[in-house]
Symmetry: C3
Subunit: 139 residues, 3 copies
């Protein structure tokens, strides 16, 4: 059994869902591990990781809009306001979604469904540099 650690940095410049499937698949290919489990962990609390459909990008746009309605920016009730009107909604969206993902892989291929992709969901408006830690274990 072996493990390895790597990280990727994703540059974002607005609230948006960004596909990272190819980058994760590449890391598996070059990991030296044929069969195992990969865990992604995002080191931020105002952006998330997500598995979703990658066939029709309208699905992603509808998800972005739904979350903007569910967690509105102009909520007079928020106490934490010092980092801008999009900050507290970003934290709440991160709680409602995922900070980590674990996906099995076999023969160096992620066990994703036919139309599944791996995504970073950026919740902040201003440009950010997002770090994702990637742990691979297997043999």
């Amino acid at each position: 059994m072996k493990q390895n650690f790597t990280k990727i940095i994703v540059e974002t410049n607005k609230q948006k869902i960004i596909e990272i499937t190819d980058q994760i698949q590449s890391i598996i290919k070059s990991s030296g591990i044929r069969d195992g489990l990969v865990t992604l962990y995002i080191k931020h609390t105002s952006a998330s990781l997500m598995i979703q459909e990658n066939a029709d990008s309208d699905v992603l746009r509808d998800i972005e809009k739904y979350f903007d309605r569910l967690v509105p920016m102009n909520e007079s009730d928020y106490i934490h306001r010092t980092e801008g009107p999009d900050d507290m909604p970003a934290h709440i969206k991160s709680v409602l979604t995922s900070t980590h993902l674990s996906i099995p892989f076999q023969a160096k291929d992620l066990s994703l469904g036919t139309w599944q992709g791996i995504f970073l969901f950026e919740h902040r408006i201003n440009p950010s540099s997002r770090t994702i830690e990637i742990h691979v274990i297997g043999e």
Copy 2:
């Protein structure tokens, strides 16, 4: 340290929460691994995995109803409509819940709480065949 990979297929025929605890416990029993971690990964973006109470099925009915209210089918705002009125809500429910679960086990017993069960949460109306990949690691 050893690992193994298996999968189960769950047939669904409506929007419903379905218990799969016994099937996962059986896989652990026959895995050849005594102590370790099991990870379940569902290969779909319109059904979820969930840990919940399995003592009173009213809890499950209330969860189903809550999610139907939180993510309504007749939302005039959805762009993605080609796969039916239940499709976009299904994708959103999958983002709000979980695509994967990891549970420790010892002496071939899942470390579930007294009233915890493992469930598949089907978000589509029409019958579906749902594949869950199961990765077991330990010794």
Copy 3:
């Protein structure tokens, strides 16, 4: 490759987000494993695990308030009412958040972001004793 299993018990006495980062970091330090993956699993369906900001506690208070609004106690629609008005909302909040977390660590340090902490999110009003199973794997 090695693994170990431990558990912690967190006493709660109201609906609140409670930081447990130091306890998890201590378990890593004394695990005998330098680099690996830690998985936390909470054995309850009315409390959750969460990664969030630990710099400004106002963020936590805003999250608590948001979830109380999103999943109200006085929802006439709930069927499951035998365990008190806070019980069914607690189950729903647990579905909307996380029952397990996986975090990589290197050189005995959790790969948390600068302002990230690990939290237990208690959803019940009455005092509870919450058990979290902790699985560490690595070498």
